[in-house]
């Protein structure tokens, strides 16, 4: 039986192969650019090069996300003697120009380009996304060529599991899924847990609307996720890993499946990882559209093929998890940080970011901005830098109103706080949260009570129904918000809403219900005036409270039972 591949041989062969190409075109084939027609463009470039008989000297590489999704489809051309050129909004016409002029002739095509000096690119610090736009996610050789799997190799050959846990602890890495729990601490719990069988799970159930960091990582660099998960398994004594992915991400699933097959064939996962005694298998489990499954206890139910309803903690998954065995759930981005921490050292990682929040964070920058897409920035960068410099400001001369982070569990950060450094603690202080990394920028035309209603509708639809405060509370809170937004709410509707928000936060069973009131709290804190303007004033109801003005009569007529 053949042994594992030699990582250095593969990397050298890759380097030699690359040296033959004088020109290389990288085509973004992540979901965003694919939706805009990238696969036809890639085919066109490849065909033109092949028809000209130039495939020995010119290479066309399908890669993961370049980040600047709003300017897609994107194609980057690198030659031996020129600076790389990034073409934007490539269509079939410009693709032909790029192929004919740049790939075959070596001179820049007359098509729209984006400067790679743009703050959008220049301000980034790529750790997790270091291979994005550089490698073909479907080729394991590409990942190995960038030094991939060396962290796993050196761990299983030269480090004890405890040593790996200690390194992660020292690095200060915290969970990227939202709450920011210290990663090393979780690893320590699982490694100390008793049990003949333990599990580690990569949580790729990225449910926040407006967030696609994990999808991009899985689509762009699937082997990095596998390596991070394998390292987690080695460090904690788990022999089985699962990757739980949303069914809405078919491309991520496809690429992960292929990556698992290739890693198995190369003996990088499986019975004897890299020839060692460490055994580790990975399986993919697919969700089916339930936001609550991002919550770790619900996620485990879903992996077991059940309804994804959460259970009370404790016991925590590291004590009793999948099938009653100790289990650790880690967000995809968290795991993607692990290989590079082991490779470059805990101290290097801890030197990035702020005192409490180490490393970088990937954000999906969307909404009213000139540049939208995916960015990776050091923790502690200010919102202003992200919005004004990287995002290029708000289009059409409109004014910035708020940035929403943390999705339905988070909150809105208004203009006066734009200079706040972005880290776990600061966002929480502002009544928002880091969340998984969705950052939606809203301009002055957006009504904040409507935003609150939007998120509450989301939570209402996504409540699993297991506990009453969340099941019934989200329905009621939505009804109050709907009355207010529709202009038939009155002062006591707002009072009821606020009091209900406190109750639901305090009494819900899992994070979904506990955080569902957050968008209301945060919009009320910063934009209470907007709510008050929508209310029908108490005077309109007259002394008997039954309403004399048309507004008041409408308010009374539409008041549902129990809401008056």
């Amino acid at each position: 039986m053949a042994g594992p591949i030699d990582l250095y041989d593969v990397a050298n062969a890759e380097r030699d192969a690359r040296a033959h190409f004088s020109r290389r075109a990288f085509v973004c084939t992540s979901t965003g650019c694919l939706s805009a027609g990238a696969s036809a463009i890639k085919q066109q470039l490849t065909d033109t090069v092949t028809d000209a008989g130039q495939e020995q000297g010119v290479q066309v590489v399908p890669t993961g996300c370049f980040g600047l999704c709003s300017r897609g489809p994107l194609v980057r051309v690198e030659t031996r003697d020129q600076q790389p050129t990034l073409y934007e909004h490539v269509d079939t016409d410009t693709a032909q120009l790029i192929a004919d002029d740049h790939l075959l002739e070596g001179r820049q095509a007359s098509a729209d380009t984006v400067s790679l000096e743009l703050p959008f690119f220049a301000r980034q610090e790529k750790v997790v996304l270091s291979n994005a736009g550089k490698i073909d996610p479907d080729r394991i050789e590409d990942y190995v060529g960038q030094g991939g799997y060396r962290a796993l190799q050196s761990a299983v050959e030269t480090m004890t599991p405890e040593g790996v846990v200690k390194t992660i602890l020292r690095s200060g890495l915290r969970g990227r899924g939202g709450a920011g729990y210290p990663t090393g601490r979780k690893w320590e719990f699982l490694s100390l847990a008793d049990g003949d069988q333990k599990y580690v799970v990569a949580n790729g159930d990225e449910g926040d609307p407006g967030a696609y960091m994990d999808r991009t990582i899985m689509e762009t660099d699937p082997h990095r996720v596998l390596e991070g998960l394998s390292l987690a398994g080695y460090a904690t004594g788990a022999s089985q890993g699962y990757i739980y992915v949303r069914a809405e991400y078919p491309l991520a699933i496809e690429r992960l499946e292929r990556a698992i097959r290739e890693a198995k064939r190369a003996k990088l996962i499986g019975r004897n990882v890299l020839g060692s005694d460490f055994r580790f298998d990975i399986e993919i489990r697919i969700g089916a559209g339930a936001f609550v499954c991002g919550e770790e206890t619900a996620l485990m139910k879903s992996i077991q093929g059940e309804r994804g309803t959460p259970t009370l903690r404790p016991p925590y998954p590291t004590e009793r998890g999948l099938w009653g065995k100790p289990t650790m759930i880690q967000n995809v981005e968290t795991l993607a940080n692990v290989p590079v921490i082991l490779e470059r050292g805990a101290e290097w990682f801890a030197s990035l970011g702020t005192s409490e929040s180490k490393g970088t964070k990937v954000f999906a920058l969307t909404g009213s901005l000139n540049n939208t897409g995916l960015i990776e920035v050091p923790m502690g960068i200010t919102l202003r830098e992200i919005v004004e410099e990287m995002g290029g400001g708000i289009p059409d001369g409109r004014a910035f109103k708020a940035a929403q982070s943390g999705g339905p569990s988070g909150g809105c950060i208004p203009a006066p706080y734009l200079d706040t450094p972005v880290d776990y603690e600061n966002l929480q202080k502002l009544g928002s949260m880091m969340g998984s990394g969705g950052l939606v920028v809203m301009d002055e035309t957006v009504s904040m009570p409507e935003v609150a209603r939007f998120y509450m509708e989301f939570c209402r639809d996504e409540s699993c129904g297991k506990c009453t405060p969340c099941r019934a509370g989200t329905v009621k809170m939505h009804a109050f918000l709907d009355r207010i937004v529709s202009g038939v709410g009155r002062r006591r509707d707002l009072q009821h809403l606020e009091s209900l928000c406190h109750t639901v936060r305090a009494t819900s069973m899992c994070g979904l219900g506990q955080s569902a009131p957050n968008p209301v709290f945060s919009t009320l804190e910063h934009f209470r005036d907007e709510y008050l303007e929508l209310l029908v004033p108490d005077e309109a109801f007259g002394p008997d409270g039954n309403g004399s003005s048309p507004d008041a009569q409408r308010a009374v007529a539409t008041s549902p039972g129990g809401v008056r």
């Binding site: 999704c69 407006g210 078919p250 969700g287 093929g305 909404g367």
Partner: protein, 195 residues
């Protein structure tokens, strides 16, 4: 698409070959009850939706009570229990699309076809759906029309594309592919089968 002529592996009395595809997936999962959700995905990919007949079949094969199969299938949003219309539009209602006016697109489609989200027109021609973030926020607002992702369209633009799709269909009426069969071709991996 399942080969209707050959393949005698059908595990269903009706002799419907599509059950053969499902049976293969069940075998591959070694009839593991944990993989109920994966099996339901395959079933929906093959049939286009989950009929009672299919759910009963899955329950029997996995030796799971019907309550469990129905309970799980109805818990998750992506499973659908009615035959989808010939054409469909799925409007993304994620935050980025919301900020860019996705609700106006939903309203326009609702008033044009007299269906609300999740419904199919009485003549079975059109299904309107909404989705929670398709993750193509850079293209917001995003609408998936007959399986193709369309970005940066306003309400009028969406109506136009839907009308074009339906008109194209009338012209090419000789091709008698039903939506369920079309989905079977896409067999799970493609977006439209899942949305």
């Amino acid at each position: 698409m399942a080969d209707r002529a050959g393949n005698g592996a059908a595990g269903h009395p009706s002799g419907d070959e599509r059950f053969g595809v499902l049976e293969k997936a069940l075998k591959r999962s070694r009839y593991s009850q944990d993989q109920l959700i994966e099996i339901l995905h395959v079933a929906q990919g093959v049939f286009g939706y989950l009929s009672e007949d299919v759910l009963v079949y899955v329950g029997r094969e996995l030796k799971l009570p019907l309550s469990r199969v129905f309970g799980v299938a109805t818990f998750y949003h992506l499973f659908t229990f009615e035959e989808p219309g010939e054409h469909g539009a799925t409007v993304c209602t994620g935050t980025a699309c919301f900020v860019k006016g996705a609700d106006r697109i939903v309203d326009a489609l609702t008033s044009e076809f007299h269906v609300s989200a999740g419904e199919t027109t009485e003549d079975g021609r059109f299904t309107l759906k909404t989705a929670r973030c398709l993750g193509s926020c850079g293209l917001a607002p995003v609408v998936v029309i007959d399986g193709a992702v369309r970005g940066h369209l306003d309400a009028a633009g969406v109506l136009e594309v839907v009308a074009e799709q339906m008109a194209a269909d009338d012209e090419a009426d000789t091709e008698d592919t039903t939506p369920a069969e079309a989905d079977a071709v896409a067999s799970g991996a493609a977006n439209e089968a899942r949305l």
